[in-house]
Every structure is written in C-alpha cells, then in structure tokens.
Amino acid sequence: MEDLKPVGQSTRFVTGTWTSIKDVWASRELTSLLVRRELKARYKDSSLGIVWSLVRPLAQLLIYYFAIGEILGLARSIPSFAIFVFVGLTTWGLFVEIVQGGTTSITNNAGLIKKIYLPREIFPLASVGGALFNFGVQLIILILATIVAGQIPMDFNLLYAPLSLAVLIFFATGLGILLAGLNVYLRDVQHLVEVAIMVLFWASPIVYSFSFVHDKLQGNWLEQLYLANPITVAVLGMQRAFWVAGTTESTSQNWPDDLAIRLWIALGISIVILWIGQRIFSRIQGNFAQEL
C-alpha cells in the first residue's frame, strides 16, 4: 500500500522546486500529447496543413527583405541580407510563440484546469513544445537556404547555436510560465504582452545588424544596456552561427567581442528567471480553478 501523500503543490520556495520538477517529469507523456493535440488541431481540416506554419515567417521575410533591405537600402551594408533577416526572424519567432502561447495557455485550458488536477506547468510547457516544433521546421528551411546560397555554416561558430537557443528557451519559458499565472488574475496581461512584443522586436538586431548600434553608441553604457537583453544576445549568437557572410564578407563589427561570455551569463540569468517564475506560478496556481 502506498503512503498517504499530501494533495496539491508545495508552495515552499526551495523544497517545492524539486517536487515541481518531479511532477512535471512524471507528466512528460501527457505534455507531448498536449503538444501534438495543439499541432494537430491547428492544421486539421486545412489542405495545406503544416505548410501554414511556414507561410507567416516567409511572408515576413519577404516584407523585410524588400522594404528594409532593398527599398531602404540596408542590404548594401549587410551581406546575404535574406539569410541574416531569416535567422533573426526565426529566433525572434520562437521567443514570441513561447511567450504568447504561454501567456494564454492557462486561460485557454480553463475547462481542463477547473475539472482535473494536473501539474499546471505542463500547459505553458506544451506551448513551448509547439513553438519548438514550428521553429524546427523553419530551421530546416534556413539550413536548406544556406546550402542553396553556398554559405553552409560548418565551423566552430555553429556551437553558438545551442547555447543561444538554451538562453532563449529558458528565458522565454520563464516569462511564459510567470505571465501564464498572472494572466489568470489579470486578463490585461495578454494585451500588454502583445504591445511589449511589438516594441521589443526593434530592441534586438533582427532587421538591422549590430554594427549599426555599435557604430552609433561606440560601446557606451547604452550599448551595454542594449546587450543586457537576453533576446538580443541570443539573436546575435544565432546570427554568429548561421549567418556565415557576417564573418567572411563583412568588415564591420556585427557582434560584441565577448559574445560567448555574455551568452553564458544570460543563460545563468535565464535559468534563475525560469526558477523564480515557476516558484511564483506554483504559489498562485492553487487558486486557478476558482479564478478562471
């Protein structure tokens, strides 16, 4: 006979972390089912199906390529502008999808949360899974594009990619979990997030390169502030890994010298943010069922 176990989550700050991790780990099968449910349901009954997950980023790519690259003339100073923009957009898209999906994940699954006890973290985590799937598809396109363009990323710089992705995923997941919890109590959060995402898009070097920022600020405190953004360093890391022309054909400084160290620091901070986010989430999730 099993022992009597307390019902619900421990709200204790440190000891509760371990039980939360165990709970989520025990539900990994369910999480993957939820991810599949989302993906399947999203593209069911549409004849193009999964292709739609590519149309949006490709349309964005075309807009930025022509509007900013050709018309505003940025493509002249940024070699292989299409690949450059696509790397940024793909990375940024992953962040947006995790945060936005996460924010509404609890409210969208209200029916389940009110009726069945599950570790609630799995809902934001399921949106992380869905976002990673879409990101994976786009990444394959990106790699194919680099092969077509003859700029295959096959050097040590490629190691920046997993590190940058780790920063991005931990940071976005932390925010997503926290915002998911807050959104239950204050529905304004999801609208606030939309606005913040619109603004933050321009705070990272996605459609312009870091060299523009560096030329203007010359490494002063504003540039340091700019680089304190984990999304910015993650985007820079991804560009370092996949945008070969930035290293070989460009003479301007497209990333800070100490990018690797900055990424490691950002990773540490992101993990702490994820941890704090989860603890706050765990503290407030006890009342979800009645607040939804």
Binding site: L4, L33, R37, I116, L186, D188, A289, Q290
Partner: protein, 408 residues
C-alpha cells in the same frame, strides 16, 4: 485489521474571495474602494474527514453547500485556505465528462489524450482501448472528429474512458445520469463492479435515490459545515430537515423585512396513527394506517388539491395519490379542515417511512410542499425484505430425474 484510510482531510477550510473587477482600469478606478469590491465567504469550514478504502461515500447538500468544493479539494483542483488533505493511490476525477476532449480531434485521439489526462500511460491505454470503445458502443465513429458527435455519443465515450482508467479512488460529480437507459444501466453496473472490487468512490449527487442506493456513508453539508456523517437514511432525513429549515429561515427573513410570504393555506399538521401499534408506536403488519392532514384555509381559494405520498427512508416513493383521484372536492372557503386518509390492511414491508404532503391549484401551480410531514415505522415480519410485503408460498418439485442417472 481495520481498513486503511485512503483520504485524510484535516481541518480544511476554504475561503472564496470574489473580485467584482477584473481589469487594470477597474482596479485603478476602484483602488480606494478595493475592500468594498471584495466579497468573501467560507465555502468550507473546518471539515475533518477520514475515508476508508473500499467505501462509497456520498456528499449531499443543497446548492452552495460546499459539496462540490470539498470534492475539488480532495481532488487537488482547489487548494484549501487552511488545513491539509492527503490521499493515496491512483485517482480519477469525473467532475465533468469529456473535460479534456478536443473537438477537432478524432474519437481515437481523444481517448488517448483523455486517458493520459486521467493518468494512464500510452501502453496502458493500448491495452484498454478495445474495451473502452466496446463499452462506449460507438465503434463506427471512433475515427470521426468528436465535434461531429451527438451529445450522447460524446458523453458515452468520455464515461467509457473514465471508468477504464483503473483508479483506486473515483471522484464523481453528478455525472452518472448520462446517455440512454441501457447505457445508464451499464454505468451503474460498472459502479457496482467498482464497489465489489473494493475501490473507493466519493460522489456528489442531488438524487437522494442514487445516494441511498449506492452509498454506505453519507456526509451532509450545509453552508460549508458538516451537518451529518454516517448512516445514509439518517443523512437524508437530516438533509430534508435542513431543506425545511432553510424554508423557515427564508420566511422569517421575509417577515423581518416586513413583507411576510403570502399564504393562502397555513402549514398543515400531519399525524399518522394505526389500528394496531406497539408502545413505541411501531405499526403492526396488515393494520389500517390513518393519515390525518389538518389544514387551515386562510382566504377564499381557487380550486385546489392535496397530494399525499409515502416514501422510504432513502427517498423512494412507494405510493402517492391526490384528492382529485380520490374524488374529494376540497372546500374553498376559509376555515380549518382535516383530510383523513386510511390505508387499509397496509402491505408495507418493515422499516421507516415518511409522509409528504403537497398542495397545488388544479391549474397546476404549487401552493406548498411539506417533506417530510410525518414519519412512521412498520414492524419487520414474514419472509423477504423490501418496501412492500407480498404473501409468499413456495415449494420445490422435481421436473426430471438427473440425466446421468437415466443413462446408466
């Protein structure tokens, strides 16, 4: 050895705070008055409860008594404000059928998803899959998206999943009355099988009949407090008592507010006597039972009738009739009257019964219902058990000699 506890509830209280404003704008506007915009009430007050493995426990009470909240606290869906709940074994909560169903997925996909939500692994679901589909009886539609299902098919599939997840503890909230009659019988058979297998069931129900038939223990809640815990028949009496208390309180409140409820007929006095009774008032078999309903008509009234019903302790109606069926015409002018009904040579089995009295206009509107208006007890006698007694004769005779003997 005593049976081990499967659920331990200790001093659980739950406070609900109702925010009347949800958006930032409203919160800022109402910042100074924030306190006023918060209402709180205690849905549960100091509930302590131990449930032993293998028992079926019913939670009853009227709307807002906290019974569903208690079930959710046990299920871990709501965290109590104070107190602890602990539990062991696998639990399945049937708080709403098909809570995890996604309309765009097929029945098959939803079976897997819903079993995972209820705690089965993929390989376990594979093992149960055919049984689940068989139980639901919708084989042909299993690969159709569930949004195309009829509501009956939907709940049948959901119920089939829920009862096949092999729980040690099943929490049920008002979901047993689903599907058509054959399916309902199947559900009840499944519940009976669960009980026979020694699983624990905690169910919330409004149906006194269901609770009486299924549970070995009933907890009555009112305003978040436990009024009664134990014997089902007793519990249903307590529950009825609390219903009429509620009515009395309601009337007193109206009276206090200076607008007493308008009565055309005063609350009747009902008494039960019999031609043969022992000192404790227990009615002998085959006696004549006299039910007297004494009532006062307060003002001239439209044509109306009185109904009298006999119910068992767990609320099953044994017999009911109205004055119209008796061919009696009730006087319409103010005055005090007595309606006397005699059940001659009664056929009731041993046990306790209640008498309920209802008054209604012939046009249909209810004037008042008093349930229970009186109770009485009938002595146990003869062979067999049940709400009615039948005279039994029996015999055994041989139809054919054993075949083996004939062959040799």
């Amino acid at each position: 050895m005593s049976t081990p506890t499967i659920i331990h509830v200790e001093d659980v209280s739950k406070r609900f705070v109702m925010h009347k404003d949800k958006s930032i704008k409203e919160r800022i506007l109402n910042f100074t008055r924030a306190r006023k915009h918060q209402d709180d009430f205690w849905a549960l007050k100091d509930i302590s409860l131990d449930i032993a493995t293998g028992t079926t426990v019913g939670l009853v009470g009227h709307n807002g008594s906290g019974k569903s909240t208690l079930l959710k606290v046990v299920g871990g869906i709501i965290q109590p404000t104070t107190g602890h709940v602990s539990r062991r074994g696998r639990m399945a909560a049937l708080l709403e059928l098909g809570a995890g169903f996604h309309p765009d997925l097929t029945g098959r996909e939803n079976v897997y998803l819903n079993s995972a939500i209820l705690g089965l692994s993929r390989s376990e679901t594979d093992g149960y899959f055919d049984e689940i589909v068989d139980f639901s009886g919708i084989e042909e539609f299993i690969d159709t998206q569930v949004k195309f299902y009829s509501s009956g098919m939907y709940v049948r599939l959901a119920f089939a999943v829920a009862v096949h997840v092999d729980p040690d503890l099943l929490l049920v909230d008002e979901v047993l009355a689903v599907g058509d009659e054959p399916f309902q019988r199947k559900c009840m058979a499944k519940i009976a099988q669960f009980q026979a297998e020694g699983r624990t069931i905690v169910l919330v129900s409004h149906s006194a009949e269901q609770v009486g038939a299924l549970c070995d223990r009933v907890v009555v809640l009112e305003h978040g407090e436990m009024l009664h815990d134990g014997d089902p028949a007793q519990a249903l009496r307590v529950l009825r008592g609390s219903f009429s208390d509620e009515q009395v309180r309601h009337e007193e409140k109206l009276e206090a507010e200076g607008r007493p409820e308008h009565h055309v007929v005063a609350v009747p006095q009902v008494s039960v006597t019999a031609s043969e009774q022992d000192n404790a008032g227990i009615i002998a078999p085959r006696a004549d039972i006299h039910v007297s309903v004494q009532y006062e008509v307060l003002e001239t009234i439209d044509p109306w009738l009185i109904g009298v019903a006999l119910e068992t302790a767990v609320g099953n109606v044994v017999f009911r009739m109205t004055t119209r069926e008796l061919g009696e015409t009730l006087p319409l002018e103010p005055g005090t009257y007595a309606l006397n009904v005699t059940f001659k040579n009664h056929n009731l089995g041993g046990g306790s019964y209640s008498v309920s009295v209802g008054m209604a206009y012939e046009a249909g509107a209810t004037i008042q219902v008093v349930n229970p208006a009186a109770t009485f007890e009938v002595a146990d006698y003869g062979v067999g058990r049940g709400a009615i007694r039948l005279d039994v004769e029996s015999s055994i005779r041989r139809i054919e000699a054993a075949r083996a003997a004939g062959l040799s």
